[in-house]
């Protein structure tokens, strides 16, 4: 019956994609299964934890709540699209310097929410940062290092982001 599924065309991280899937398939599952972009995570399946957050047409959305049929013609950004040609995005660099990621599972969604926030407001204050990240639950950090990371990424003009760290395992 997969022949009867529509083919949905959309852009992910600047690249054109065509996915044939049942129209109710969640964007989250299309990203992770069809496109093998596993950076976006599932934490709750009910739009509460934000670990599935992506940016769609310039807005932050929980991809677990978006049926793929609604994604046609859209421009989607995931965490894999943040870094720019091998260099960490300033937010990513700030998270690394300030300890904004511990277990890392909330981190992709958190980065998407932070990126969206600073896109709308390049110099957010603490109240705005808290509001911008309120939909992203973190169980490890207590949020302090995350706030510091966002402030660090936005209160000074960063140097060009260094080469992505060789510290990985």
């Amino acid at each position: 019956m997969s022949e009867s599924w529509p083919t949905i065309h959309f852009i992910v991280n600047g690249k054109a994609c065509a996915v044939q899937a049942p129209p109710m398939k969640r964007l989250l599952d299309v990203l992770r299964e069809d496109l093998r972009l596993t950076g976006t995570k599932e934490g709750c399946g009910e739009g509460e934890c934000g670990s599935c957050s992506v940016r769609m047409n310039g807005e932050l959305v929980n991809s677990c709540l978006v049926p793929v049929l609604q994604v046609g013609g859209s421009d989607v950004q995931t965490v894999e699209g943040l870094a720019m040609s091998g260099k960490l995005h300033p937010l990513q660099q700030a998270f690394l310097n300030s300890g904004g990621a511990q277990c890392g599972i909330c981190t992709p969604g958190m980065l998407m929410a932070a990126a969206q926030l600073i896109d709308q407001n390049p110099h957010p204050n603490m109240a705005q940062i808290r509001e911008g990240l309120a939909g992203n639950l973190c169980r490890c950090t207590g949020f302090m290092r995350i706030f510091e990371s966002v402030l660090a990424a936005t209160t000074h003009t960063p140097d060009p982001a260094p080469e992505e760290s060789q510290h990985a395992r």
Binding site: G99, A101, C103, T107
Partner: protein, 767 residues
């Protein structure tokens, strides 16, 4: 070890070793992994809390020939999870003892077919009367575990409490309760399993203790050690919730792999993870305390009970730590603690950050404030008069040999929080404000590492090796799940060996590859295993100097060249070391006497809380934590641990309630199990004091669990300060505050529905 040397890398905030992968979305958690020909597994669970299984029916609308079904009968070895007691079955066999207990497993290549299949299994039960509370278990009308429902009991005695009741100037009693708490790691439990007749069982997954899982799998499958392999994948949070539970899930996935002859992935969704996996033990603590006229402690009699749920899991060790933390950082000549863990038909409780200490520290630090109030003494002064100092003995008669600076920690906390000025301001402002503010403290310790002879029994082995490609690897079975294991252990190795942080990696936590350096629990990793890595690094350098011509000073190239000379000679380049107990550790497990822990971290928490009398909501507005933790090996990571633990402690006190209905978690969705969001957490101020512990890795003590012990009592003490109302139980939700405060309001005003005058009336205003 020279504790005063300035180090190159230890003590600095080296960037998280696996940080870039996590930030780039490249880190691979278990559900990110796909395998060719992989099937998916799920579980049929009990819908009743206690009863006999009379029949299992399979609805014919499903094509069962496509589906692999596993029952207890398929288990090749023992149908038990190996932990402390072997009482918990891997799969229920004829009887269930809690809701959501696993009965059957099913697997299919299409994961979308699983839900219909689960719904097509019809189980008929003969129900038995369940029990759900400590009190019901104590009454023993229903015996649901062993001969008498009693999973474990301890009796700790110092001096003779009965000698002082008659003569004491003051006796104060109190009862305190804590509820269950869910870990809510953002990554649910998950395992991928593979089985073959030649290689045995291999599992990958989200877990804390690969060797714990190994220990269960060899028994469930009746396989020799080398035919079971357990590999940890990137783990998205654990907090103790992945200490023992993965042994169950790994067994399930491996059984399905064995029967289906396919690789099987089992990843829980949130609803299942919340309902079926372990949570923090609920507790009830009764205090009876005798003091002299100056408020010095004469006797502490403590009756402690926990709800263990349907199977023992880790209830006895949780009870042990609860017992040993119950008397707090105070010197008291006579102590008697009677502790019991009772079985019920709740979903089994298990390890959770703090492991019994948050429960009894809540009780104690609330009780200290109640004592202060009863005696008319300032709560700070009461504590100062009773703090332990070097040379004092604890309730287990452990002599405090290391410097103990509770007084200084308290002074620093008071200063950093501007405690007195704030308190005075609130006292003035509360009269005319609908929002009442208060400030409360908690003073406590957390014992680092396993209790007593635990580390000797673990007998950890750890080390480092060097690959021909020029990578130095840390070989441990300890795992990273956000707390910084990878970073700190590689920092230690780099420091000890004398090479760059970037040249050290962690070997995968794979039982086929790394020695058993013990579980990643009990705040032991940096202190105990870190010390092993430190010794291993020094041993490697000594060997290279003695046997491979390495000079006293060397460059990176010279180091690796010497390694290759050693490899040519010996065939490998490795240094493994075994745990050595610090001298003078004596522990009597029967009498509960001696050196309970090799070291203690000490802390003072201060919470400023605002209680809105319109909505009865309590919020933490600001929080200060001062702690002495030995040497801080990575300031950013250590601060992050304290902040994260405090956030969980705030949730434990004010937001997180496990709502059980007939033994099933009714609020098993993130919408309804409430943790603080970015808008709820207060600013948290963290201050470290350091007294290096000479037997810990580069002087470190444990810190992971310490911060979860203090927030709840500090917060509830602050609520009392704000409102004048004493609460003895957490979680303390607005509905609970309302129940007591509104009743008090009415009583004060003398007219139900009237409003107390302190809230300020405005007369009508002419326009």
């Amino acid at each position: 070890m020279n504790l005063t040397t300035k180090n190159r890398i230890v003590g600095s905030s080296a960037p998280r070793k696996e940080g870039a992968d996590k930030l780039l979305g490249r880190a691979r958690y278990i559900d990110d992994i796909q395998r060719e020909g992989m099937w998916f597994g799920s579980t049929v669970r009990s819908t009743i809390p206690r009863g006999l299984i009379r029949s299992i029916g399979f609805d014919r609308r499903i094509n069962w020939s496509e589906i692999t079904v596993v029952t207890a009968a398929d288990i090749p070895g023992e149908n038990h999870i190996q932990l402390i007691f072997a009482d918990q079955p891997c799969l229920a066999d004829g009887q269930v003892n809690h809701c959501d207990e696993a009965i059957l497993l099913i697997a299919h290549p299409d994961k979308h077919k699983l839900r219909d299949a689960i719904n097509a299994v019809h189980i008929e039960y003969e129900t038995l009367p369940p029990i759900f509370t400590i009190e019901e278990s104590e009454r023993q009308d229903q015996i649901v575990w062993g001969k008498d429902n009693l999973i474990k009991s301890f009796l700790l005695e110092k001096g003779d409490v009965n000698s002082v009741w008659e003569s004491a100037a003051h006796i104060v009693e109190g009862e305190y309760r804590t509820g269950a708490q869910e870990h809510l790691y953002i990554e649910n439990n998950g395992i991928i399993a593979e089985w073959s007749a030649e290689n045995g069982v291999t599992v990958w997954g989200s877990l804390q203790c690969p060797y714990y899982v190994h220990k269960t799998l060899i028994k469930v499958f009746d396989l020799p050690d080398d035919k079971v392999r357990v590999i940890q994948t990137e783990t998205g949070g654990a907090f103790g919730g992945k200490e023992d539970y993965p042994s169950t899930l790994a067994s399930h996935a491996a059984l399905l792999a064995m029967k289906s002859r396919h690789v099987v992935k089992m990843v829980y969704d949130r609803m299942e993870d919340l309902a079926a996996t372990t949570k923090r033990h609920p507790s009830r603590t009764r205090h009876r305390t005798a003091l002299d006229k100056d408020g010095k402690l004469l006797a502490m009699e403590i009756d402690l009970a926990t709800d263990g749920g349907a199977y023992a899991t880790l209830s006895s060790t949780v009870l042990s730590r609860a017992t040993l933390h119950a008397p707090g950082p105070y010197s008291c000549p006579n102590v008697r603690i009677s502790a019991k863990s009772w079985a019920t038909n709740n979903v089994p409780y298990g390890a959770f950050r703090g492991f019994g200490a948050p429960q009894t520290i809540f009780a104690l630090e609330r009780h200290m404030d109640e004592i202060a109030c009863a005696l008319g003494i300032d709560p700070l002064e009461l504590r100062r008069r009773n703090f332990l100092h070097i040379g004092d003995t604890t309730a287990t008669e452990q002599l405090m040999r290391e410097p103990l600076i509770m007084d200084q920690l308290l002074e620093r906390a008071l200063k950093e929080s501007d405690y007195h000025a704030r308190r005075a301001r609130f006292a003035r402002e509360n009269h005319t404000s609908a929002v009442k503010r208060g400030i409360g403290i908690a003073c406590f310790y957390h014992g680092s590492g396993f209790t007593g002879s635990g580390e000797r029994i673990l007998n950890s082995l750890a080390g480092v090796d060097v690959s021909p490609e020029g990578k130095v690897r840390v070989l441990v079975s300890n795992t990273e799940f956000g707390q910084g294991t990878n970073t700190v252990l590689t920092q230690i190795a780099a420091e000890a060996i004398g090479i760059d942080y970037d040249d050290i990696t962690m070997a995968t936590a794979d039982t086929g590859l790394v020695p058993n350096s013990g579980p990643t629990v009990a705040s032991r990793t940096v202190m105990v295993v870190g010390r092993l890595i430190e010794r291993a690094g020094l041993q490697l350098i000594a060997t290279l100097r003695e046997q491979a011509g390495l000079g006293n000073k060397f460059t990176r190239e010279e180091f690796f060249a010497a390694c290759e000379r050693l490899r040519a000679d010996k065939g490998e380049v490795v240094a493994l070391v075994r745990y050595e107990a610090p001298p003078g550790i004596f522990w009597d497990d029967d009498k509960y006497r001696g050196e309970a822990y090799p070291s203690y971290a000490w802390s003072v928490h201060i919470a400023q809380v605002a209680v809105d009398t319109v909505t009865f909501q309590a919020e933490v507005e600001e929080f200060w934590a001062v702690q002495e933790v030995g040497r801080v090996l990575n300031p950013v990571l250590a601060t992050g641990q304290i902040e994260g633990g405090i956030a969980q402690g705030i949730g434990y006190a004010l937001y997180e309630k496990v709502v059980m209905q007939n033994g099933h978690m009714a609020n098993n969705q993130m919408t309804n199990y409430i943790i603080p969001t970015a808008e709820d957490v207060p600013p948290i101020h963290v201050f470290f004091e350091e007294i290096p512990f000479k037997h810990g890795g580069y002087g470190a003590k444990g810190i992971g669990e310490l911060p979860h012990d203090g927030p709840a009592p500090a917060i509830v003490n602050a609520i009392k300060d704000a409102t004048g109302v004493s609460f003895h139980s957490i979680p303390l939700l607005p509905e609970d505050l309302f129940a007591q405060m509104a009743a008090r309001e009415s009583a004060e005003a003398g007219d139900p529905g009237n409003w107390p005058s302190s809230t300020g009336w405005k007369e009508s205003i002419a326009l």
